[in-house]
Subunit: 298 residues, 2 copies
């Protein structure tokens, strides 16, 4: 058996996802053009496409294929991108740069930035619905939408952002930081993996394994993000350096130190891999992505 | 045959919808409490519940019942309420009052208002998915979600708001105003009727009739809104009087005069009723709602 080639895997999937996103988003000249330009500006800004790749890896881990889940994969990237646009707004994190470019409201104004986010969130659910049209059992589509909506809404990502905003500039207990990380970031990463698996026909046992791995992976991702934020420079991250620190946001290294944060992230990655054992070699892409989450430099 | 009793019909359905919305939204003390308080603040602010009643009337017109489409009915009210919260934001229409109370960002701050809107939009699609779980054919759920997403997104309501914002303080041709009205308001009203009909098993012929009536009804609703805005007082409308005029937004009466606007709205209502002829008495609720749209004073 040949070892899993992560760089090729990521490059191939990123290229396919970018083609699918280009086809899924309204053209830049479709009226009203401004909002479609803004949606594409943020969507094609050099993102890692981690969430859509996780949707695909979730499907592959239970014997499914990339094309089978591509609309849902695009939907998860739409949700992620909308959340970045809204989080960057002056009333929220008030960030002027992301990935080295002006944020959406800096480039298009606040009104269009809000509406571009709204448009991407709405489009996401249309894409998921399109993905479910071929399923034999409508309950699977219901379950996938419920899972993604719960992970993205006030009981998930939006809820995490609420507590994050409310905690700014205040000393918060470790449990509150875990709440923010689990809801703001980890929930959608977990739902990316499980929705791909569901759409590809996962058994309850397969789904439970992937769900456990996804929760670990999501939390590890955010801890690594915090570590990079503390260590990072403008050149490396492409956004204002140490922006969490500047806004007096609590980070995992603040509370536990850099070394303990690295150890915790590594342990979560190992836990995720342990959860994947029952899936055998089919879960190699998820394992590769787990390593990528830990080792990435941006 | 007894004549259709519109006041009783509206009162009964409003009460049932309010109970269902209360059950569908997270409790006010569910963490994070702030955003759930904000969602409920805007949701229970005395709205007419026109869109959810249209979902129900659409179902009844093809032999369905209220309970069969109640989650989708609630979803349409979530989408409507989110759009009001975001439209009122300082970066958009910058309104301080709606229905006689401070707008969401005035009561909770801009960040929470944006997130409450995001949360309601996300919840809407979860409710629609829940509604579709009992359907025999998953393609119906797909079609309903696609229809509502298209009516709510950048090719519908969000698109209408984009052009509305971009047209502020400028002289616009009559076609642009028709575009704003058709997209910002009429699209979601039409989709309310048709999604109810689809979920209740409408035939293609029934759906075409309801779709045509919905488009007429939606445009009539916005023209009447413009007339009320021009005529209205703070007491009558519960929001800043003549606020469209104050912001130099074009209205139908501006472009065509008050009397011609009334004639056009009345004609659209008659066209809607004509489209409903093939549905017989089952469409009486839609006919009653059409009269209500024309005769309402707020």
């Amino acid at each position: 058996m040949s070892p899993f080639d992560l760089p090729s895997y990521l490059a191939e999937r990123r290229a396919a996802i970018d083609r699918a996103l280009d086809a899924a988003l309204p053209r830049e000249d479709a009226p009203p053009a401004t909002v479609h330009k803004a949606m594409r500006y943020s969507m094609f800004a050099g993102g890692k496409r981690l969430r859509p790749i996780l949707v695909i890896a979730g499907a592959e881990a239970v014997g499914g294929g990339m094309q089978q889940v591509m609309p849902a994969a695009c939907a998860l990237e739409c949700i992620h991108t909308y959340s970045l646009i809204h989080d960057d707004l002056p009333a929220m994190d008030d960030d002027d740069f992301r990935r080295g470019r002006p944020t959406s409201h800096k480039a298009f104004g606040e009104a269009i930035a809000i509406l571009a986010g709204d448009g991407l969130l709405t489009l996401a659910f249309r894409l998921i619905a399109d993905n479910g049209a071929t399923l034999a059992d409508p309950r699977v589509l219901r379950d996938v939408i419920a899972e993604i909506a719960d992970a993205a809404g006030t009981l998930g990502m939006v809820g995490g952002q609420v507590v994050d905003i409310e905690s700014e500039g205040r000393a918060i207990p470790a449990e509150t930081l875990e709440y923010i990380h689990a809801h703001k970031t980890a929930a959608l990463i977990r739902a990316s993996l499980t929705s791909g698996a569901r759409l590809a026909g996962a058994t309850p046992r397969q789904l439970a394994a992937i769900n456990a791995a996804g929760a670990d992976l999501g939390l590890a991702f955010q801890i690594v993000d915090d570590i990079l934020d503390v260590e990072g420079s403008l050149a490396e991250l492409g956004k204002t350096a140490g922006s969490d620190r500047r806004k007096h946001k609590a980070t995992y290294p603040d509370q536990h130190g850099l070394e303990a944060s690295r150890v915790r992230a590594k342990t979560l990655i190992e836990d995720a891999k342990a959860a994947l054992v029952p899936l055998g070699r089919a879960a190699d892409p998820i394992r590769g992505l787990a390593d990528f989450v830990f080792e990435r430099r941006s």
